[in-house]
Amino acid sequence: MSHAISLTPEAFTLVKFDAAELLAIAEDAATAVGVPDDVSIAIDVDEALPGPLIASAAEAVPGKLSFWFSGGSFEDPKRLAMLQPEMSRTELAAAFLRGRDRLDGGFEDAPPDGEISERQRAIWDVYAEGRLAQQGGFLINEPRRRYSYRLRCGFSDVADAEYDRVWKAPSLSWTELEEIEGRLAGADTRPEARKPLRHESLRPS
Protein backbone atom coordinates (compact mmCIF):
# COMPACT_ATOMS: atom_id res chain seq x y z
CA MET A 1 0.00 0.00 0.00
CA SER A 2 1.09 3.57 -0.49
CA HIS A 3 -0.44 6.92 0.12
CA ALA A 4 -0.06 10.26 -1.59
CA ILE A 5 1.70 12.19 1.19
CA SER A 6 3.02 15.72 0.87
CA LEU A 7 5.34 17.36 3.38
CA THR A 8 5.87 21.06 4.03
CA PRO A 9 8.63 22.17 4.14
CA GLU A 10 10.20 19.95 1.49
CA ALA A 11 13.55 20.40 3.22
CA PHE A 12 14.15 21.45 6.82
CA THR A 13 16.51 24.33 7.53
CA LEU A 14 16.10 25.08 11.26
CA VAL A 15 16.20 21.47 12.45
CA LYS A 16 18.23 18.46 11.35
CA PHE A 17 15.24 16.40 10.21
CA ASP A 18 15.53 14.37 7.04
CA ALA A 19 12.33 15.06 5.08
CA ALA A 20 12.55 11.74 3.25
CA GLU A 21 12.87 9.86 6.53
CA LEU A 22 9.86 11.67 8.00
CA LEU A 23 7.82 10.92 4.86
CA ALA A 24 8.73 7.24 5.12
CA ILE A 25 7.68 7.21 8.78
CA ALA A 26 4.41 8.90 7.85
CA GLU A 27 3.74 6.31 5.16
CA ASP A 28 4.41 3.52 7.64
CA ALA A 29 2.16 5.09 10.26
CA ALA A 30 -0.66 5.71 7.78
CA THR A 31 -0.56 2.08 6.69
CA ALA A 32 -0.41 0.83 10.27
CA VAL A 33 -3.56 2.70 11.32
CA GLY A 34 -5.46 1.93 8.14
CA VAL A 35 -5.70 5.26 6.35
CA PRO A 36 -7.32 4.28 3.01
CA ASP A 37 -5.00 4.39 0.01
CA ASP A 38 -7.26 6.76 -1.84
CA VAL A 39 -7.06 9.37 0.91
CA SER A 40 -4.24 11.85 0.37
CA ILE A 41 -2.30 13.24 3.32
CA ALA A 42 -0.80 16.71 3.66
CA ILE A 43 1.63 17.31 6.53
CA ASP A 44 2.74 20.80 7.52
CA VAL A 45 5.56 20.95 10.07
CA ASP A 46 6.33 24.20 11.88
CA GLU A 47 10.02 23.56 12.41
CA ALA A 48 10.52 26.73 14.47
CA LEU A 49 8.57 25.26 17.39
CA PRO A 50 10.99 23.10 19.41
CA GLY A 51 10.33 20.42 21.98
CA PRO A 52 8.72 20.33 24.47
CA LEU A 53 6.20 22.39 22.49
CA ILE A 54 4.31 19.35 21.21
CA ALA A 55 1.14 20.27 19.34
CA SER A 56 -0.84 19.12 16.32
CA ALA A 57 -4.07 19.73 14.44
CA ALA A 58 -6.06 17.54 12.05
CA GLU A 59 -8.50 18.52 9.30
CA ALA A 60 -10.49 16.29 7.00
CA VAL A 61 -12.42 16.69 3.78
CA PRO A 62 -13.56 13.76 1.66
CA GLY A 63 -10.48 12.17 0.11
CA LYS A 64 -7.98 14.31 1.98
CA LEU A 65 -6.49 14.61 5.46
CA SER A 66 -4.43 17.65 6.42
CA PHE A 67 -2.23 17.91 9.48
CA TRP A 68 -0.23 20.60 11.22
CA PHE A 69 2.52 19.67 13.67
CA SER A 70 4.97 21.59 15.79
CA GLY A 71 8.55 20.52 15.06
CA GLY A 72 8.81 19.48 18.70
CA SER A 73 6.36 16.67 17.97
CA PHE A 74 9.13 14.84 16.13
CA GLU A 75 12.22 16.08 17.99
CA ASP A 76 14.40 13.80 20.08
CA PRO A 77 14.15 15.14 23.67
CA LYS A 78 17.74 14.02 24.26
CA ARG A 79 19.26 15.48 21.10
CA LEU A 80 18.58 19.05 20.07
CA ALA A 81 16.90 19.45 16.65
CA MET A 82 17.28 15.74 15.77
CA LEU A 83 14.42 13.53 14.59
CA GLN A 84 13.18 10.80 16.95
CA PRO A 85 11.70 8.17 14.60
CA GLU A 86 9.69 6.06 17.06
CA MET A 87 8.12 9.05 18.80
CA SER A 88 7.39 10.61 15.41
CA ARG A 89 5.64 7.45 14.26
CA THR A 90 3.38 7.50 17.31
CA GLU A 91 2.58 11.22 16.96
CA LEU A 92 1.78 10.78 13.29
CA ALA A 93 -0.32 7.65 13.85
CA ALA A 94 -2.35 9.29 16.63
CA ALA A 95 -3.01 12.31 14.43
CA PHE A 96 -3.95 10.07 11.50
CA LEU A 97 -6.45 8.26 13.72
CA ARG A 98 -8.02 11.59 14.66
CA GLY A 99 -8.12 12.47 10.96
CA ARG A 100 -9.86 9.17 10.20
CA ASP A 101 -12.29 9.88 13.05
CA ARG A 102 -13.17 13.14 11.33
CA LEU A 103 -13.58 11.49 7.92
CA ASP A 104 -15.93 8.68 8.83
CA GLY A 105 -15.23 7.53 12.38
CA GLY A 106 -18.06 9.18 14.28
CA PHE A 107 -16.45 12.62 14.54
CA GLU A 108 -17.77 14.00 11.27
CA ASP A 109 -19.68 16.70 13.17
CA ALA A 110 -16.80 17.71 15.43
CA PRO A 111 -15.84 21.40 15.24
CA PRO A 112 -12.39 22.22 13.80
CA ASP A 113 -9.44 21.58 16.12
CA GLY A 114 -9.03 25.30 16.69
CA GLU A 115 -12.51 25.51 18.13
CA ILE A 116 -12.71 22.52 20.45
CA SER A 117 -11.96 22.93 24.15
CA GLU A 118 -8.72 21.77 25.73
CA ARG A 119 -10.75 19.25 27.71
CA GLN A 120 -12.34 17.82 24.56
CA ARG A 121 -8.96 17.62 22.90
CA ALA A 122 -7.48 15.85 25.91
CA ILE A 123 -10.23 13.19 25.82
CA TRP A 124 -9.80 12.71 22.09
CA ASP A 125 -6.02 12.32 22.48
CA VAL A 126 -6.59 9.60 25.09
CA TYR A 127 -8.98 7.82 22.71
CA ALA A 128 -6.42 7.99 19.87
CA GLU A 129 -3.40 6.87 21.88
CA GLY A 130 -5.42 4.20 23.67
CA ARG A 131 -6.22 2.63 20.33
CA LEU A 132 -2.54 2.64 19.38
CA ALA A 133 -1.72 0.94 22.68
CA GLN A 134 -4.30 -1.75 22.05
CA GLN A 135 -3.11 -2.25 18.50
CA GLY A 136 0.50 -2.61 19.65
CA GLY A 137 3.74 -1.84 17.83
CA PHE A 138 3.89 1.82 18.84
CA LEU A 139 6.04 3.63 21.37
CA ILE A 140 3.47 4.54 24.02
CA ASN A 141 4.06 6.56 27.18
CA GLU A 142 0.76 6.01 28.96
CA PRO A 143 1.67 7.97 32.13
CA ARG A 144 2.51 10.99 29.97
CA ARG A 145 -0.89 10.82 28.31
CA ARG A 146 -2.60 10.42 31.70
CA TYR A 147 -0.81 13.46 33.14
CA SER A 148 -1.71 15.62 30.12
CA TYR A 149 -5.32 14.49 30.49
CA ARG A 150 -5.44 15.16 34.24
CA LEU A 151 -4.05 18.66 33.72
CA ARG A 152 -6.98 19.46 31.42
CA CYS A 153 -9.72 17.34 32.99
CA GLY A 154 -8.90 17.34 36.68
CA PHE A 155 -7.03 15.31 39.28
CA SER A 156 -9.98 13.31 40.60
CA ASP A 157 -11.38 9.79 40.83
CA VAL A 158 -14.15 10.70 38.37
CA ALA A 159 -11.62 11.95 35.83
CA ASP A 160 -9.46 8.84 36.31
CA ALA A 161 -12.44 6.50 35.81
CA GLU A 162 -13.40 8.28 32.58
CA TYR A 163 -9.78 8.10 31.45
CA ASP A 164 -9.66 4.35 31.96
CA ARG A 165 -12.88 3.90 29.99
CA VAL A 166 -11.74 6.09 27.08
CA TRP A 167 -8.26 4.52 26.97
CA LYS A 168 -9.80 1.10 26.39
CA ALA A 169 -12.78 2.22 24.29
CA PRO A 170 -13.00 0.32 20.99
CA SER A 171 -15.11 3.10 19.53
CA LEU A 172 -16.32 6.55 20.43
CA SER A 173 -18.28 9.30 18.71
CA TRP A 174 -18.16 13.08 19.02
CA THR A 175 -21.52 12.99 20.75
CA GLU A 176 -20.24 10.50 23.32
CA LEU A 177 -17.10 12.57 23.80
CA GLU A 178 -19.25 15.62 24.53
CA GLU A 179 -21.17 13.60 27.13
CA ILE A 180 -17.91 12.57 28.79
CA GLU A 181 -16.79 16.17 28.82
CA GLY A 182 -20.05 17.14 30.51
CA ARG A 183 -19.50 14.59 33.28
CA LEU A 184 -15.91 15.75 33.74
CA ALA A 185 -16.96 19.39 33.90
CA GLY A 186 -19.54 18.50 36.54
CA ALA A 187 -16.95 16.72 38.65
CA ASP A 188 -14.27 19.38 38.29
CA THR A 189 -14.10 21.12 41.65
CA ARG A 190 -11.34 23.50 40.65
CA PRO A 191 -12.26 27.19 40.70
CA GLU A 192 -13.80 28.34 37.44
CA ALA A 193 -10.73 30.33 36.44
CA ARG A 194 -8.64 27.18 36.73
CA LYS A 195 -10.82 25.09 34.46
CA PRO A 196 -9.52 24.70 30.95
CA LEU A 197 -11.01 26.99 28.38
CA ARG A 198 -9.85 27.34 24.83
CA HIS A 199 -6.49 29.04 25.11
CA GLU A 200 -4.18 30.54 22.58
CA SER A 201 -2.68 28.15 20.07
CA LEU A 202 0.91 27.60 19.02
CA ARG A 203 -0.32 27.37 15.45
CA PRO A 204 -0.02 30.67 13.56
CA SER A 205 -3.47 31.83 12.46
Partner: protein, 272 residues
Protein backbone atom coordinates in the same frame (compact mmCIF):
# COMPACT_ATOMS: atom_id res chain seq x y z
CA UNK B 1 39.78 9.93 45.76
CA UNK B 2 40.28 12.70 43.24
CA UNK B 3 39.70 16.28 44.35
CA UNK B 4 38.02 18.96 42.21
CA UNK B 5 36.24 16.57 39.87
CA UNK B 6 35.61 18.15 36.45
CA UNK B 7 32.05 18.05 34.99
CA UNK B 8 33.18 15.67 32.26
CA UNK B 9 33.89 13.00 34.91
CA UNK B 10 30.50 13.06 36.64
CA UNK B 11 29.13 9.53 36.91
CA UNK B 12 26.14 8.93 34.66
CA UNK B 13 24.76 5.77 33.08
CA UNK B 14 23.75 5.31 29.45
CA UNK B 15 20.33 6.86 29.97
CA UNK B 16 21.82 10.34 30.27
CA UNK B 17 22.81 12.48 27.29
CA UNK B 18 24.68 15.76 27.80
CA UNK B 19 23.93 19.10 26.20
CA UNK B 20 25.55 22.48 26.61
CA UNK B 21 23.98 25.78 27.44
CA UNK B 22 25.50 27.22 24.25
CA UNK B 23 23.68 24.63 22.14
CA UNK B 24 20.40 25.99 23.46
CA UNK B 25 21.34 29.66 23.14
CA UNK B 26 22.70 29.29 19.59
CA UNK B 27 19.71 27.26 18.36
CA UNK B 28 18.61 28.97 15.10
CA UNK B 29 14.96 28.45 16.07
CA UNK B 30 15.35 31.05 18.81
CA UNK B 31 15.45 33.87 16.29
CA UNK B 32 12.41 32.54 14.42
CA UNK B 33 10.49 32.24 17.67
CA UNK B 34 11.49 35.71 18.82
CA UNK B 35 9.81 37.13 15.74
CA UNK B 36 6.47 35.57 16.66
CA UNK B 37 3.87 36.51 19.21
CA UNK B 38 3.26 33.30 21.11
CA UNK B 39 1.75 35.05 24.11
CA UNK B 40 3.03 34.71 27.65
CA UNK B 41 6.01 32.40 28.13
CA UNK B 42 5.15 31.81 31.79
CA UNK B 43 4.82 28.19 32.76
CA UNK B 44 1.09 28.01 33.51
CA UNK B 45 -1.34 25.09 33.18
CA UNK B 46 -3.55 26.89 30.67
CA UNK B 47 -0.76 27.51 28.17
CA UNK B 48 -0.30 25.34 25.08
CA UNK B 49 1.82 22.22 25.63
CA UNK B 50 1.77 22.94 29.37
CA UNK B 51 2.00 19.26 30.34
CA UNK B 52 5.07 18.56 28.24
CA UNK B 53 6.71 21.82 29.29
CA UNK B 54 6.15 20.90 32.94
CA UNK B 55 7.50 17.38 32.36
CA UNK B 56 10.60 18.82 30.72
CA UNK B 57 11.16 21.25 33.60
CA UNK B 58 10.63 18.49 36.14
CA UNK B 59 13.39 16.48 34.50
CA UNK B 60 15.62 19.56 34.60
CA UNK B 61 14.90 19.85 38.32
CA UNK B 62 15.81 16.19 38.76
CA UNK B 63 19.21 16.56 37.06
CA UNK B 64 19.74 19.84 38.90
CA UNK B 65 19.22 18.05 42.21
CA UNK B 66 21.77 15.41 41.26
CA UNK B 67 24.29 18.14 40.46
CA UNK B 68 23.49 20.07 43.65
CA UNK B 69 24.14 16.86 45.58
CA UNK B 70 27.41 16.38 43.74
CA UNK B 71 28.42 20.01 44.32
CA UNK B 72 27.70 19.98 48.05
CA UNK B 73 29.31 16.57 48.37
CA UNK B 74 32.50 17.72 46.67
CA UNK B 75 32.71 20.69 49.04
CA UNK B 76 32.80 18.38 52.05
CA UNK B 77 35.84 16.67 50.52
CA UNK B 78 37.74 19.07 48.29
CA UNK B 79 39.00 21.44 50.99
CA UNK B 80 41.24 21.02 54.03
CA UNK B 81 39.97 22.32 57.36
CA UNK B 82 42.13 25.43 57.10
CA UNK B 83 40.46 26.27 53.77
CA UNK B 84 36.90 25.47 54.87
CA UNK B 85 35.87 25.12 58.54
CA UNK B 86 34.59 21.78 59.70
CA UNK B 87 31.23 23.36 60.59
CA UNK B 88 30.86 24.50 56.98
CA UNK B 89 31.47 20.94 55.82
CA UNK B 90 28.87 19.72 58.29
CA UNK B 91 26.38 22.11 56.72
CA UNK B 92 27.29 20.76 53.30
CA UNK B 93 26.85 17.18 54.54
CA UNK B 94 23.41 18.08 55.83
CA UNK B 95 22.64 19.66 52.47
CA UNK B 96 23.73 16.44 50.74
CA UNK B 97 21.04 14.61 52.67
CA UNK B 98 18.44 17.20 51.60
CA UNK B 99 19.54 16.98 47.97
CA UNK B 100 19.42 13.19 48.06
CA UNK B 101 15.79 13.36 49.19
CA UNK B 102 15.10 15.92 46.48
CA UNK B 103 16.52 13.58 43.86
CA UNK B 104 14.23 10.79 45.06
CA UNK B 105 11.22 13.12 45.21
CA UNK B 106 12.01 14.38 41.72
CA UNK B 107 12.21 10.84 40.36
CA UNK B 108 8.79 10.08 41.88
CA UNK B 109 7.33 13.32 40.53
CA UNK B 110 8.74 12.43 37.13
CA UNK B 111 6.94 9.09 37.27
CA UNK B 112 3.76 10.89 38.33
CA UNK B 113 4.03 13.15 35.28
CA UNK B 114 5.05 10.41 32.87
CA UNK B 115 8.73 11.22 32.57
CA UNK B 116 11.50 8.63 32.51
CA UNK B 117 14.98 9.11 33.94
CA UNK B 118 17.15 10.45 31.13
CA UNK B 119 14.20 11.21 28.86
CA UNK B 120 15.54 14.71 28.26
CA UNK B 121 19.14 15.82 27.83
CA UNK B 122 21.18 17.09 30.75
CA UNK B 123 23.17 20.31 30.90
CA UNK B 124 25.84 20.37 33.61
CA UNK B 125 26.14 24.13 34.05
CA UNK B 126 24.78 23.81 37.59
CA UNK B 127 27.66 21.56 38.64
CA UNK B 128 30.12 23.79 36.79
CA UNK B 129 29.22 26.55 39.27
CA UNK B 130 30.40 24.17 42.00
CA UNK B 131 33.90 23.81 40.59
CA UNK B 132 35.43 27.01 41.96
CA UNK B 133 38.64 26.41 43.89
CA UNK B 134 37.83 28.96 46.62
CA UNK B 135 35.20 27.50 48.98
CA UNK B 136 33.52 30.88 49.37
CA UNK B 137 33.17 31.29 45.62
CA UNK B 138 31.76 27.80 45.51
CA UNK B 139 29.22 28.55 48.23
CA UNK B 140 28.18 31.72 46.42
CA UNK B 141 27.83 29.79 43.17
CA UNK B 142 25.96 26.85 44.65
CA UNK B 143 24.11 28.05 47.75
CA UNK B 144 23.24 31.57 46.69
CA UNK B 145 23.01 31.37 42.88
CA UNK B 146 22.03 27.76 42.18
CA UNK B 147 19.80 27.33 45.23
CA UNK B 148 18.38 30.80 44.57
CA UNK B 149 17.39 29.61 41.09
CA UNK B 150 15.90 26.53 42.75
CA UNK B 151 13.69 28.82 44.85
CA UNK B 152 12.42 30.51 41.68
CA UNK B 153 11.84 27.19 39.88
CA UNK B 154 10.19 25.40 42.80
CA UNK B 155 7.92 28.34 43.49
CA UNK B 156 6.85 28.37 39.82
CA UNK B 157 6.19 24.61 39.91
CA UNK B 158 4.35 24.84 43.22
CA UNK B 159 2.04 27.48 41.72
CA UNK B 160 1.63 25.28 38.64
CA UNK B 161 0.48 22.44 40.90
CA UNK B 162 -1.82 24.73 42.84
CA UNK B 163 -3.50 26.22 39.77
CA UNK B 164 -3.91 22.88 38.03
CA UNK B 165 -5.28 21.22 41.18
CA UNK B 166 -2.41 18.70 41.26
CA UNK B 167 -2.03 17.98 45.00
CA UNK B 168 1.06 15.80 44.59
CA UNK B 169 3.09 18.34 42.65
CA UNK B 170 2.09 21.25 44.89
CA UNK B 171 2.86 19.38 48.10
CA UNK B 172 6.24 18.02 46.98
CA UNK B 173 7.43 21.33 45.58
CA UNK B 174 6.45 23.12 48.76
CA UNK B 175 8.55 20.75 50.87
CA UNK B 176 11.58 21.06 48.63
CA UNK B 177 11.17 24.82 48.50
CA UNK B 178 11.48 25.03 52.28
CA UNK B 179 14.84 23.23 52.11
CA UNK B 180 16.13 25.56 49.41
CA UNK B 181 15.43 28.61 51.55
CA UNK B 182 17.60 27.02 54.25
CA UNK B 183 20.38 26.27 51.77
CA UNK B 184 20.49 29.86 50.58
CA UNK B 185 20.63 31.10 54.16
CA UNK B 186 23.55 28.76 54.81
CA UNK B 187 25.43 30.25 51.87
CA UNK B 188 24.69 33.80 52.96
CA UNK B 189 25.75 33.10 56.55
CA UNK B 190 29.07 31.49 55.56
CA UNK B 191 29.78 34.28 53.09
CA UNK B 192 29.47 36.83 55.89
CA UNK B 193 31.43 34.79 58.45
CA UNK B 194 34.38 33.83 56.24
CA UNK B 195 34.82 37.24 54.64
CA UNK B 196 34.15 39.33 57.72
CA UNK B 197 37.69 40.72 57.66
CA UNK B 198 38.36 40.32 53.98
CA UNK B 199 36.18 42.67 51.91
CA UNK B 200 38.17 41.97 48.74
CA UNK B 201 37.43 38.25 48.97
CA UNK B 202 33.79 39.00 49.66
CA UNK B 203 33.60 41.19 46.55
CA UNK B 204 35.29 38.48 44.45
CA UNK B 205 32.72 35.99 45.71
CA UNK B 206 29.80 38.31 44.97
CA UNK B 207 31.20 39.04 41.52
CA UNK B 208 31.43 35.31 40.88
CA UNK B 209 27.83 34.97 42.02
CA UNK B 210 26.73 37.70 39.59
CA UNK B 211 28.34 35.78 36.75
CA UNK B 212 26.64 32.56 37.81
CA UNK B 213 23.30 34.32 38.23
CA UNK B 214 23.61 35.67 34.70
CA UNK B 215 24.38 32.19 33.41
CA UNK B 216 21.45 30.77 35.38
CA UNK B 217 19.10 33.31 33.85
CA UNK B 218 19.59 31.19 30.72
CA UNK B 219 18.95 33.87 28.19
CA UNK B 220 15.53 34.77 29.57
CA UNK B 221 14.47 31.53 31.24
CA UNK B 222 14.13 33.39 34.53
CA UNK B 223 12.92 36.93 35.05
CA UNK B 224 9.95 39.07 35.97
CA UNK B 225 8.08 39.55 32.69
CA UNK B 226 5.64 37.53 30.61
CA UNK B 227 8.58 36.48 28.44
CA UNK B 228 10.16 34.49 31.28
CA UNK B 229 8.89 30.95 31.97
CA UNK B 230 10.30 31.03 35.50
CA UNK B 231 9.41 33.98 37.66
CA UNK B 232 11.78 35.55 40.19
CA UNK B 233 10.36 34.64 43.63
CA UNK B 234 10.94 37.92 45.45
CA UNK B 235 9.14 37.12 48.70
CA UNK B 236 10.79 33.74 49.17
CA UNK B 237 14.20 35.12 48.25
CA UNK B 238 13.73 37.79 50.93
CA UNK B 239 12.89 35.02 53.42
CA UNK B 240 16.16 33.34 52.42
CA UNK B 241 18.12 36.46 53.29
CA UNK B 242 18.50 38.24 49.97
CA UNK B 243 18.22 42.01 50.35
CA UNK B 244 15.88 44.00 48.10
CA UNK B 245 18.93 45.45 46.36
CA UNK B 246 20.29 41.97 45.70
CA UNK B 247 16.96 40.80 44.27
CA UNK B 248 16.75 43.92 42.09
CA UNK B 249 20.25 43.16 40.85
CA UNK B 250 19.31 39.59 39.92
CA UNK B 251 16.28 40.94 38.07
CA UNK B 252 18.50 43.34 36.14
CA UNK B 253 21.01 40.56 35.41
CA UNK B 254 18.15 38.47 34.01
CA UNK B 255 17.16 41.28 31.63
CA UNK B 256 20.78 41.60 30.48
CA UNK B 257 21.03 37.85 29.96
CA UNK B 258 17.92 37.89 27.80
CA UNK B 259 19.25 40.78 25.69
CA UNK B 260 22.64 39.08 25.31
CA UNK B 261 20.99 35.84 24.20
CA UNK B 262 18.86 37.69 21.62
CA UNK B 263 21.96 39.42 20.24
CA UNK B 264 23.88 36.13 20.06
CA UNK B 265 20.98 34.33 18.41
CA UNK B 266 20.52 37.14 15.88
CA UNK B 267 24.25 37.07 15.15
CA UNK B 268 24.18 33.32 14.64
CA UNK B 269 21.25 33.61 12.21
CA UNK B 270 22.64 36.51 10.22
CA UNK B 271 23.98 35.67 6.74
CA UNK B 272 27.79 35.73 6.67
Amino acid sequence: MKKNLPPSELARDSRFVRSTIMDAIMDPRNQALAERDLGSAKLQPGRPAAADRARNLMHGIFTGEIQALEGAGRTTFDFDDDEAPFALKLDMARQCWDESRHVEISVKLGEWMGTEIGEYNEATFLYEAACATDPILRLCGVNRALEGLAIDVFNTMREFGDISGDPVLEFCEDWMLADEVTHVKMGSDWLRRLTENDPERRERALEFQRGVDKLFSLGGFRGETDENPIQLARKLRAMAGFSTDEIDEISEISVQAQEDARAMSAGASAPS
